[in-house]
Each structure stands twice: as C-alpha cells, then as structure tokens.
C-alpha cells in the first residue's frame, strides 16, 4: 500500500468540494474502509488522498417520513440497518439481506453507501493479473476458473456483484440521492448499477466528484411482504453464490405487485421483469412459482465451472417468491 494523506469532510458539501478540487484520480472517499483498504493493500488503487466521510454525521440516519418512505443516510452501517426495529417490521427484506453479509465486525464498520460501491471479488481482479476490468484486453475468468462468476452474459467482464443489500434495494424500487458540484440528483438504484462497458469499466454510474448521500425506499404497496435468500459455500462470512430478493403484494389473493431480483448471476443485480409480467394479476400457486422460476433462468449461459448456479438460481427464485407470499417459511 502506498502512503496517502488523509483529510476529513464534516459534511456532504465539504466532501463534494474536496473531491471536485482534487486532480483526476487524486482523491477517494473513505467510509468504513472495508473494501477500499483491501483494494489499496492489494495495490489495485493508490489514491494519493483519502477524504474521510465518517465525520459527516449528517449522513448517518434511518428515518421513515410521513408518506411512509424510508430514508437511509449513506453512512448508515449495515449493523444499524440490521437492528432497526421499525425497518425490520415494515421492510423485513432489508435486515434479511444484511444479516448474512460479511461478519458482525464488518457490519459494524461497513456503510450502506460503501456496500453499493464495492468492487467485484473476482480472483483475477483481486490478484495481479491485468484483466479487462482493470484496463487490460482480456477477461481471464471467461475461459479460466469461473465457479463464482456470472451466468448472464452482459459485458466483456463476467464478475458478479458482491453486495447482498443491492438486490433487496432493487426489489424495493429504491432511489439514490447523489450530490455533485452542480447540486443533487435522484436516480433509481436500478439505473445506478450497470454492466461495465468499454468506456466505463465499473459496475456503477457515479462521477468522481459525486457523493452518494441517501438511499430512499418509497412506501411499499399495501400489504407488501419480502424475502431475501442467500446461498453461500459455508454457513457464514461468505459472498453469495446466488441470492434472490422478492417483494410481493397481494390483493384478494392475486398478485398485485411483484419484484424479483437475482444476485450473483450477472455483473449487477438483475431484476427479472419477465417473471414479474408472468405473475402480475395471478394467484401464486406452487406450480406457478415453479414456472416463474424456470422463466427467471431462461436466458442463462453458464460458463465452464458454474452450471450449478442455474438450478440454484431457479430454486432460490421459487423459494423467495413463495416465502414473500407467505406460502413457505
């Protein structure tokens, strides 16, 4: 790790100012540091300056407004989110999604903002190889060791997004509030994530001088329920092989509103609209859940070592839908 200087930002505004006055690649925000520092220790990035956002305590909050929307400050830790009784009661998919993320120690440090901005765990990316995502010419995982990689082919890169929280936020139609030198903008979390392209070899769309300030979860349809399921190689402290988030609202026994999002299958979490279209207006039966799950993996193109993810994704999709509908616990 290279030496760097460390400055603090006491507010969002100050952070934006510090970022925009820095040279290109001259500064990075640090929140919990749990991803940033691992990248720096592996010499994958070497920002000459870190701007510590933690003193900006105005960014650490969890609050329901009168309209029923939840506002999550970007500095809220995963542990805050996990333990908030009202969140657990009204939006259970959120604590469910972070409960199995990382470890208690990490969740106490890791922030919600940093979680959405963490980089892939692909071993070629984290190692010395100059792979495509790091600016090289080839993706080594595509024809190499790819048991943890994508089964949907959306980019030259086949790494999957490591966040557990992101699929849940997608299932809740969350929006992000982003502050930059020109003011604030609001963006659906689904458009914030995007598969890396030749021009932008990164999984999110955030300018270097922007600060992620808030995640807003809109009021959910009446009676909506959610579920997040994650499968890991071991019982704790592992990234998802595949995960599924579902949010479902029924009216008179029929599905009025449904979101199904899969993690661990593509560069970014995938909302599966085909399943939502299939289910809306229907009564969810075990049979229909099976059909929906089949459809969820219809486009899958597994690589040499990850064909197991197809049945895994199908089963998780099925079970998440059933769980969110209360047909299965």
């Amino acid at each position: 790790m290279k030496a760097f200087d460390h400055v603090t930002a006491a507010s969002t505004r100050e952070a934006v100012e510090l970022l925009s006055s820095a040279a290109p690649d001259g500064a990075r925000l640090i929140a919990g540091g749990t991803d940033l520092l691992t990248l720096m220790k592996a010499d994958l990035i070497a920002p000459p300056r870190l701007i510590d956002l933690k003193p900006a305590s105005e960014l650490r909050y969890l609050r329901f407004d009168d309209a029923g929307a939840l506002h999550i400050g970007a500095l809220t830790t995963l542990a805050d989110l996990e333990r908030h009784p009202e969140v657990a009661q009204r939006l259970p998919v959120l604590p469910q999604s972070v409960r199995d993320a990382a470890t208690p120690q990490l969740r106490a440090l890791a922030t919600v903002g940093g979680n959405l901005l963490q980089r892939p765990r692909c071993w070629y990316y984290r190692g010395d190889a100059l792979c495509w995502l790091k600016g090289g010419s080839a993706c080594f995982a595509r024809d190499g060791q790819n048991k943890y990689h994508a089964i949907l082919d959306h980019s030259p890169c086949v790494a999957v997004h490591p966040s557990d929280l992101a699929p849940a936020l997608l299932a809740l139609d969350a929006e992000l509030v982003i502050h930059g030198p020109g003011g604030a903008r609001v963006l659906p979390v689904e458009s914030f994530f995007a598969a890396p392209t030749d021009q932008e070899r990164v999984e999110y769309r955030l300018a270097a001088d922007e600060v992620l300030a808030e995640i807003t979860v809109p009021r959910q349809p009446e009676g909506a329920r959610g579920a997040y399921l994650k499968v890991m190689d071991r019982q704790a402290w592992a990234f998802a092989l595949v995960s599924a988030a579902a949010q479902v609202a029924l009216r008179d026994g029929r599905i009025e509103h449904v979101r199904l999002v899969l993690g661990g299958v593509a560069n970014v979490p995938q909302r599966i609209r085909a399943v939502e279209d299939l289910l809306t207006g229907q009564e969810l039966t075990p049979k229909l859940a099976e059909q929906a799950a089949e459809r969820a993996v219809a486009g899958a193109k597994p690589l040499a070592h990850n064909a197991y993810k197809v049945p895994l994704a199908r089963e998780l999709a099925r079970r998440a839908l059933l769980a969110a509908t209360g047909l299965m616990v």
């Binding site: 071993w123 984290r126 190499g144 190689d233 019982q235 402290w237 064909a307 197991y308 895994l312």
Partner: protein
C-alpha cells in the same frame, strides 16, 4: 513399561500458555520486531516458469533507506530442503513457481523495503510451464529441473501376492478415480521473525518452526557455518500443521543478518504466506478393488500420483505414505500399488497433518464402502472382516508393529453410532417439513504412522537436571521440542513430574533454543508425545537413579531414545518394515444435505481414537476437535484454486476456512487407551488421525443421504449439486 498408579498422567491440567495467548500477552515472532531493526522485503517471481535473463538491482539499491539488495550471488550455498537440497534461497537462473524468490531488499523501514522491491528490475524469458502432474510425466513435457532430465521425483511400487489372479477370481471388482486438491495450513500467525549476530559471532534467528535442530542444519549449510554458530530460537508458535517444517524465511533472515551485521526483521502478509509456503499435495488416484462373495477383500491395484510442485520438500516421503495406505487399514493378500511424486511448476507441496494418509484413504475408504454395497453387505461388516489385527501383514509383507487396535476402535465407533446416531436403524423421513434436506450417516476407518518412517534414524534426546538438599526439590528438563500449539511442553512436563514423583511446579522446561536444548526431533508425524515423551521419561529415570546414588545435591542425565528400527522399502517390491507405530481411528459422521443448494452440514461426529494413554485428556480432546475443524475445511470447503501456476485464492475471502458455524453442533471424542509398547506410560500420538477418516466418512454420509458418490475433494456445494443433477437428469436438482 511399568505403569504404576499415576497422579499426573491423564489429568486435564490447564495449559500454562493459554492465558497469555487469549489475553495477547504471548509473544509471537512478529512481536519481537523492535525499532532500529532493518526490514526485509522479498521480490517474488510471480510467474510459474522462466529464465532470469537480467537482474538489475541498481535502482532499488539507490532508493531511500535501502541498505542492500541481496540476490543469488550473495548466498554462500544456495540450496536447501528437508530431504533433497534442491530449492534455492534466492533464484539466480531459473524460477520454477510463482512463489520463488529472486531478491531480498533490506531497508530501514518496511515501507522503504516494499517500495524498493518494486524497483528491482528482473528480465525474464518465460519458459513453458507444466502445471498438471500427469502431463508432467508425459514424454516431451517441459522440465521443471532441466538437469534431472525428468519430472519424476519418485516411483515407488508395492507388490504383494498376485493381483491378476485375485481379480480373475474375485466376485466383485470395482474401479474408482479420485482427486484431491491442495490444502493451505492457514495457521493464525503468518511467517515472521528476526535475526541478528550476537557478541559471540553467532547468527541468532528467532522465529517459529517445528524442529529447531533441522532449521539450524539447513541454515548453517546455506551460510557455510558450523552448526554451533547458528542459534535457532522459537517464540510462541501460532500453529504449524506441517506448514512450518520447510524453511520459509528463517534462512533469509539469517542471510541478511549475517551479511549486514545488523538486526533484521521480516513479516509476511497472508498473501505472501499463501503463495510461498508449501501445501498439502493434490493426488490423483485410480484404483481397482476386488472381493469375494464372502466379503474378503482380495485385491487392490492403484496408481497414486502426487503433484509435488516445484521443489522436492518432503514429497518423496508423503508419496510413500500414501502408497502404503492406498489399501487402507485392511489386510489384503494381493496388492499392486504404484506411487509417483512429480515435479510441476505449481506451489511445492510437503508436510501437512496426515502426510499423504488422508488423500490415500479418501479413495480407499470410499472403495471399501462401495464394495460392501456391491456385495450387499453392511459396510461395517466388510471392514470387520478385513481390518488389520495383531500380526496382520502390511502391504510391505511384514507384520504390523505391536499394538494393532484398528478393530476395537471400529467396534467402539459402531457402538457409539448405534447409541447416539441410531446407526443401522431404518430412518424415518428426514425433516418432514423440508423434503430437500436429507440426512445420512457414514462410517470410515483410518490409519496413520506415528513417527518417521522407512529407515529414518528416529531419535529423540532429552536431558534432565535434578537439584535439592535432602529431598529432590526441582528438576530442569532440557529438550528442543517445538510447542506448535498442541501443548507438547505441558505433556513433557507432566511426564517428567510423574516419573520423578514431584509436583508439576517443581519442573521447569528449557525447550526453545537450539544452543541449549538437545534435539527432540520434529514436532510432526504425531510423534512428540511418544518420542519426546519417552526421551524425557527415560532421562528422568536415569537422573533419578543417579540422584539416589549421588553424594552431591545435583544429578543430571541425558538420554537419546531410539524406537524399534524401520527399513527403507525395497525399490522393486516395496517390501520392508515401514513404521514402528501406528495410530488407529474410526469416525461416524451424520450430515444433512440440502439437495436444492448442494450444501452439506455436518451435524454430528463421533471420533474414536486409540491414543495408547492420554497424558492430558483435555489436550487429546482438543486435538480431536481442532483437527476436525481442519477436516471439515478439507472435506467440504477449502478449494485452493490454481490456474496455470497462479494461485487464485491467496486471500481468506475466497479460500474458505470453516467458521464456528460450520462446525458440527456435536462432536463426541472417544478416547481408547490400549497401551503402546514404546510410548511413555503407553502413549502414542493422535494429532493427525482425525483428519484421516473424515472426508471419506462425509462422502459415505452424503451417499447415504442422497445416493450420489463424490470422488473429488473438497465436496463443495457446486460439486454436490452437479452430482445430484447428473443423477437426476437435467430437470430439477432435488
């Protein structure tokens, strides 16, 4: 040996070092680093195979704070190794694996050393790499050590009886193909240490290892110094598991201190430790087993290939052990096994808890259970009919060393499994509310040698000083025995106190300095309790005898203990007396397989061991439980990924070790005490044994639960799901 009433033997005395270890007071090697020391940073090859065309250190030498950049030309004798000295300390000509070392930067601070290491300019000409053991044996394969003209490091055949005839006459013949992967020791404390030249012109290395005197031998040879001029001292050792048997950095610390005449320090990052130190060998095993209708196993044929990686390390011995155990712990009249150790451009492989036994018996135990199924026989019954008994002939055609307890260990295991797991009873539906969760039980046996094998001159030396007036007041025991966390120092102290008839507090130990304490031999091969313990016992008896006779109030005795001799294996037939002692184990494992996700949870383990005599029962149980944690990782999780010679899993984020939640909720250690004829108070070793039967027991349990056999270790969810999908066709998994 006489075993009178004892007061300290068997007592679960608490570990004197435990408090310091949990409070942080214990000083591990990295804690010895002091201000003013020079810091070392290695330049690793980071490529599997290449010729060094040019090595330019000038920029690094000119960098701030740099005191020196050492390369191959600075090493007096540039080769080391436990058996063959085939590994350069610093490569001058060719690099043979990713973790090979080409330069050693010495600087005033760690940061400066790291920065300067990046300035060392090495021009490589990449050579074709061979990274698969079978491919390495093919004609025309790139050579890892060109001067040898072959990648074959060892071929050892074992021949007994007439397998061709036995297969022709067998009622059932089954074939199997198995593969096992690398395993990382993952000790808590990555390699670290300090070195300096003392006022007597001796180079002193303070670090962690498993055998003071062997480290000293290799370091002295490298520096071309008399052994007495090299002092190796061990700080608290944060785990070893075989991973500290080979030199890692000890010799490089010594080299820098000797060259620069200043105290030096080095500490590896986890990822340096992961790529640079040796691993457990991956094996490729193909075999054929035959049995008669009556359940007599009559023939075993096997080809056992070990990927030894770039340097010899202990591959030759590991491969012999695996070859010996390819037929498990069963007396089989006709055996034909060929073991091969092969050089590749992968990470070198060497000692790791079990030392070839877990790999060989993963195959053997699965084959025995499959044979039983094919015969329509209970797997326990088939084992019972064939298992080693007193006087059984080994594959090497000699009777087993006395004290064969394989059968009582198995019987006890079955008894416990019946009582605790209801083994053998028809299972009611597993988890009625969740039909995708299936439970199963597997049983397997295991055997592993205690101590060094194949004609090695086994010895352990201890010295005991006695002091007092009218009464014997205190004793000092000198024995250079590494306590790698297994509790050897307490065991040796208990044995001394017991033998002398004094309290534990009256015995003090000198154990961690090669200049003061005599050579106990290695803390490996489950041998320290038997070998070191016996040396302490005998030295205590001898000193005590002198004390009674002496006029003065002081007596001392030094004893070198030799166990019964072993012999090398005959190069044509493998005949010989390979070992002087074996440990026997049997386990019953209950698992729950999630057929939707492929996850396997180990619910309960019964682990039965004949330890001869438990010197400290709590420590024996600790060894069983700790070893099972490593076994859970080995069987189910730890998937060390290497691609074209590059380690893809140098971090614990992708090399998954078991967590507390992955451990079985219930472990039942069962300790039998059927005295060994040579061990102190009858004790033999236990440290490796729980790793031997575990993976095949889990495989059998998965089969019991689901009907699929896994033949690749580790049995990850991906592999379980793939096997289930293959069984069920493509439609649904489950």
């Amino acid at each position: 040996m006489s075993t009178p009433k004892t007061h300290l033997i068997g007592a679960s005395l608490p570990r004197p070092d435990a408090l310091g270890k949990v409070t942080g007071a214990a000083r591990y090697p990295a804690d010895l680093i002091r201000p003013g020391m020079l810091h070392l940073q290695l330049v690793f090859a980071q490529r599997p195979h290449a010729r060094i065309v040019a090595l330019d250190t000038s920029a690094a030498e000119g960098a701030p704070g740099v005191a020196a950049v050492l390369t191959a030309k600075d090493v007096p004798y540039n080769a080391h190794g436990l058996i063959d000295a085939d590994q350069p300390a610093l490569c001058g000509d060719v690099v043979r694996f990713e973790g090979d070392k080409v330069a050693l930067v010495v600087a005033e601070s760690k940061e400066q050393a790291e920065a300067a290491a990046k300035l060392v300019a090495v021009t490589y000409e990449d050579l074709p790499a061979v990274t698969d053991a079978r491919a390495a044996l093919a004609a025309g394969a790139p050579l890892v050590h060109a001067e040898l003209g072959t990648n074959l490091l060892l071929h050892i055949p074992i021949r007994k009886g007439d397998t061709a005839r036995a297969f022709a006459e067998a009622a059932v013949v089954l074939e199997g193909a198995f593969s096992t992967s690398w395993q990382e020791h993952a000790f808590l404390q990555p390699e670290a240490g300090i070195a300096y030249v003392d006022e007597q012109e001796r180079v002193v290395i303070e670090t962690a290892g498993q055998w003071l005197h062997e480290d000293r031998r290799q370091i002295a040879a490298m520096l071309q110094l008399p052994e007495e001029q090299v002092i190796v001292r061990y700080a608290a050792i944060g785990g070893a598991f075989g991973g500290r048997e080979d030199l890692s950095m000890q010799h490089l610390l010594a080299l820098a201190a000797w060259k620069l005449r200043r105290p030096v320090a080095m500490q590896w990052k986890r990822e340096e430790s992961m790529i640079a130190h040796h691993k457990r060998h991956p094996f490729d095993i193909r075999c054929r087993w035959g049995a008669t209708r009556e359940g007599r196993i009559t023939a075993v044929e096997a080809e056992v290939i070990a990927d030894g990686g770039a340097y010899a390390s202990t591959s030759v011995e590991v491969t012999k052990v695996a070859t010996l155990f390819a037929s498990g712990c069963y007396e089989i009249p006709n055996i034909s096994v060929d073991g091969y150790a092969v050089y590749t451009n992968n990470v070198p492989c060497g000692a790791f808890r079990g030392f070839g036994a877990p790999q060989a018996q993963f195959a053997a135990e699965i084959m025995v259970t499959r044979l039983a199924h094919a015969l329509g026989m209970d797997p326990v019954e088939l084992r019972r009919r064939n298992i080693y008994r007193e006087g059984s002939l080994e594959p090497t055609q000699q009777p087993l060393p006395e004290g064969v307890s394989a059968l009582p260990v198995l019987e006890r295991c079955v008894e416990e499994a019946r009582a605790r797991l209801r083994y053998g009873e028809p299972r009611e539906s597993d988890v009625p509310s969740a039909p995708h969760l299936r439970r199963g039980i597997g049983i397997a046996c295991g055997i592993k040698n205690v101590g060094y094998s194949f004609g090695y001159q086994e010895q352990s030396t201890a010295k005991v000083h006695l002091y007092g007036k009218a009464e014997l007041e205190r004793a000092v025991v000198l024995i250079g025995a590494a306590d790698v966390g297994q509790g050897a120092h307490l065991i040796l102290r208990q044995i001394a106190a017991e033998t002398l008839g004094i309290a534990l507090e009256q015995v003090s130990m000198v154990t961690d300095d090669s200049g003061e304490a005599p050579n106990a031999g290695s803390a490996s091969a489950s041998r320290m309790t038997l070998m070191g313990g016996r040396a302490v016992h005998d030295a205590a008896l001898a000193a005590r005898a002198k004390w009674s006779a002496a006029e003065e109030y002081e007596a001392e005795a030094e004893v070198q203990f030799h166990p019964p001799a072993t012999t090398p294996l005959d190069p044509m037939s493998g005949a010989g007396r390979p070992n002087y002692c074996y440990g026997y184990a049997a386990q019953a494992v209950e698992v729950e397989v999630n057929t939707l996700t492929g996850q396997v949870r180990v619910l309960r383990v019964i682990s039965v061991h004949d330890v001869g005599r438990a010197i400290n029962m709590q420590q024996v149980e600790g060894q069983i439980e700790g070893c099972l944690a490593q076994a859970v990782g080995y069987a189910l999780l730890e998937d060390f990924q290497v691609r074209d010679g590059h380690v893809l899993t140098p971090y614990f984020s992708t090399y998954l070790l078991p967590t507390a939640l992955d451990m079985p909720p219930e472990i039942v250690p069962v300790v039998l005490e059927l005295a060994d004829p040579n061990g102190p108070y009858g004790a033999r070793g236990v440290a490796e044994m729980p790793l031997v039967p575990f993976a095949p027991a889990v495989a059998a349990a998965i089969h019991d639960a689901t009907g699929v056999w896994l033949s690749q270790q580790p049995m990850t969810p991906e592999r379980v799901l793939a096997a289930l999908s293959a069984m069920n066709g493509q439609s649904t998994a489950g």
